[in-house]
């Protein structure tokens, strides 16, 4: 008894702070889900379970929390259980086990009426194949969600026209969906999901059926829309580029399980397993990583007030051709060539002051690596200094740190091998 109630408490703990929380969600398709659950708990593999019992494990022990107004991506290959997971959130598919909380309310406890209310007020869903109503005009597609709630024709058409304008479709109200292009149809899909002003959007590969160029436009529009509307979005995709572009955080699904949750950078720099690593190996890391990720701190640094003999000590321990010069607060001043220091030493001078100090290109920590290539190549011999807001040195970027930062474990990425 005691342990049970504690478990129940743990389960709900903290969920009210999140827009969406999944706790140990399972979905088994087939004749005997209970048997499959039993076998799963005994550590049986999914393939064996399918073989011996005919049950398909669609989602296997998924848990995560989505912050309000976050764009949370679920990514995985086809058949990994993404659509099933998404449908479980509003019980379009009944979960086999586990709980779902939307704004702290347990969806799995709701009766039919409460569930309908939830779908009418809190959530809006967008589908891969648009799933528009072919027999209804655009305006009546959008108005559907209000129509079934008994909103008067005049009012629901006014709201729908407004939201159609938001997605850039005013003037198309009286067309039928089949007369619209794919991109426009999905705008109708978005408008239809937004018309009742839900706080949570569920999007199942909404742009996957579109041409690449249109897809990029729509992604940008979604981001623009999000700036104004501030929805919580649970966004499904199998396209890593899309995930990286849109996601605040990304969950990676493999074979029904969530194998990693993290920001784009975390996923790319620290893939949890081979599946994730495989996913991210083709990605253009230069678009995701920033200066701080490829900077090296292993550079000889000299404080301005040090003596030349001290400096010599420093550089004799490295084979670098330069020393970075900072003030006593580590603020960047510039760089000094090693051979100048050596010459100064031979002259018997002990001060750094008369040495020629060279300018270094400064880049901020957040500067995308993409931007660093041209900066490095314009003055190929000079490394870039990575500095924080106060101008303090964090590290330097040179050709070799760039290459090793962009490749994982020293592996050469595919593009760079030519």
């Amino acid at each position: 008894m005691v342990s049970l109630s504690r478990e129940a408490q743990d389960k709900e703990m903290g969920t009210e702070d999140y827009a969406i929380s999944l706790r140990n969600l399972y979905k088994v398709f087939g004749p005997d889900p209970d048997q499959a659950m039993q076998l799963l708990s005994e550590g049986e593999g999914k393939d064996e379970i399918l073989e011996s019992t005919g049950n398909t494990v669609g989602v296997h022990d998924a848990s995560f929390d989505v912050e309000p107004q976050e764009i949370f991506i679920v990514m995985g290959l086809s058949g990994s259980g993404k659509s099933t997971l998404l449908r479980c959130v509003i019980r379009l598919i009944e979960p086999t086990h586990g709980s779902i909380f939307l704004d702290g309310e347990d969806v799995t406890e709701m009766d039919d009426g409460q569930l309908r209310q939830l779908r009418r007020e809190k959530t809006g869903m967008v589908f891969q194949q648009f799933a528009l109503f072919p027999h209804r005009k655009v305006i009546d597609n959008v108005a559907y969600g209000l129509e079934i709630q008994g909103v008067s024709r005049k009012e629901r058409h006014r709201n729908s026209a407004e939201i159609l304008d938001t997605v850039g479709l005013s003037g198309w109200e009286d067309y039928y969906p089949e007369n619209l292009s794919g991109g426009m149809q999905q705008r109708v899909g978005l408008a239809r999901a937004l018309v009742h002003d839900p706080s949570i959007m569920l999007l199942d590969e909404p742009f996957s059926a579109l041409d690449p160029l249109i897809r990029r436009d729509m992604q940008q529009e979604l981001l623009d829309l999000q700036k104004r509307l501030n929805k919580t979005m649970l966004f499904i995709t199998h396209d890593l580029d899309e995930a990286l572009r849109l996601g605040d955080r990304i969950a990676i699904m493999n074979d029904g399980e969530i194998v990693q949750i993290g920001t784009a950078k975390e996923i790319i720099t620290e893939p949890a397993d081979d599946y994730v690593a495989n996913f991210v190996q083709d990605i253009d890391r230069a678009k995701i990583l920033t200066a701080v990720d490829v900077a090296t701190a292993e550079v000889p640094v000299l404080r301005q007030d040090h003596s030349v003999s001290g400096a010599w000590q420093e550089i004799s321990e490295t084979d670098a051709f330069y020393v970075v010069l900072t003030d006593e607060h580590r603020r960047l001043i510039g760089m000094v060539y090693s051979h100048d220091i050596r010459a100064q030493l031979e002259n018997g001078s002990v001060s750094l002051d008369p040495l020629p100090i060279h300018e270094m290109e400064r880049v901020s920590l957040e500067r995308p690596v993409e931007d660093l290539f041209p900066l490095l190549s314009t003055n190929s011999s000079h490394p870039l200094a990575v500095v924080d807001r106060d101008g303090r040195l964090e590290g330097v970027v040179d050709a070799s740190s760039l290459v090793s930062g962009l490749t994982k474990d020293g592996e050469v990425p595919r593009g760079a091998s030519q």
């Binding site: 379009l92 779908r119 799933a131 072919p134 027999h135 559907y144 079934i148 569920l202």
Partner: protein
């Protein structure tokens, strides 16, 4: 011992036979004896509707009927085809078959209306409940493949000769298509569209009325078309048990070896069939096109 075994294997033993015929007799007897009031009430309602419809069609002067038909048909299929189909009615009149044709038309219209009123709800229920689908499917097969005479006999025993047994026989034969195609049409509404409806919080009645039935309409219309055609196909058989109309001409023509009379009756049935088919067929296609607003 051996001999009895051999004869057992050769001839199916008499006392192992199912008394199915006896059972059906018993059921029929019971229905006649116990259901009297129900059948009387049913007869009264059906008779009222059929007779009223027939009287109305006969009361209309042929010229008025033609004008009304043309206007309605022009609305559905356009003036050109409407004129051609009106020509069909004119042809029937010119053969002196106006009155029997109207009687047949009344019968077919009432049978179709009843088939639709029963068939669409049954089809809907079959699409919603798999159990009903499993149960009713074989019944529909039976209704269409069983030779009509098999159920004509009990129906006549219950209602005696007249328009009512004729109508019921027609109904049994003609109702399956509209039931089947309603069921199919609803099952075929794209699952993602239905899911979209559910995701917005529709009740199942809203799903049915606002999404599934409108999308199933072309299929249902095709079912209605087939139902009308099959009802027409029953006209001759129905006339044998008192339906009246064109079937009687054909039936008497055959019975009295008046080949010409039978032929004229047959031609009129064909003309009616073509008129009704074109009209309902066009209505289906027009339905699909109306989306291109």
């Amino acid at each position: 011992m051996r001999e009895t075994l051999v004869s057992f294997l050769m001839e199916y033993p008499d006392d192992w036979q199912l008394p199915l015929a006896g059972w059906v007799d018993a059921i029929t007897d019971w229905l006649i004896a116990e259901g009297g009031m129900v059948w009387d009430a049913l007869s009264y309602v059906i008779l009222f509707v059929v007779v009223r419809t027939e009287r109305f069609l006969l009361w209309l002067p042929w010229s008025a009927m033609l004008v009304i038909f043309f206007v309605v048909a022009a609305f559905v299929v356009g003036p050109k085809l409407a004129a051609a189909l009106s020509g069909g009615f004119l042809f029937i009149a010119s053969l002196g078959m106006w009155d029997p044709s109207m009687a047949t038309l009344a019968m077919v219209l009432v049978a179709t209306a009843m088939a639709v009123m029963i068939g669409i709800p049954v089809g809907i229920l079959m699409s919603k409940y798999e159990v009903l689908n499993r149960l009713i499917r074989p019944v529909l097969d039976l209704m269409q493949t069983l030779p009509s005479f098999v159920y004509l006999i009990p129906v006549v025993m219950i209602f005696s000769i007249g328009r009512i047994p004729a109508l019921l026989a027609t109904l049994i034969y003609a109702a399956p298509p509209v039931i089947r195609l309603t069921n199919l049409g609803i099952r075929q509404t794209a699952s993602d569209v239905v899911e979209a409806g559910r995701s917005m919080g529709s009740t199942s009645m809203q799903l049915l009325l606002k999404i599934q039935l409108p999308l199933a309409l072309p299929s249902i219309m095709a079912g209605i078309n087939q139902t009308v055609m099959m009802a027409l196909g029953m006209v001759v058989i129905a006339s044998m048990i008192g339906a009246g109309g064109l079937g009687v001409e054909v039936f008497r023509g055959i019975g009295r070896l008046e080949v010409g009379r039978g032929f004229v009756g047959g031609i009129c049935i064909v003309v009616l069939a073509v008129i009704i088919d074109r009209l309902t067929q066009q209505a289906i296609e027009g339905q699909g096109e109306s989306h291109n607003g």
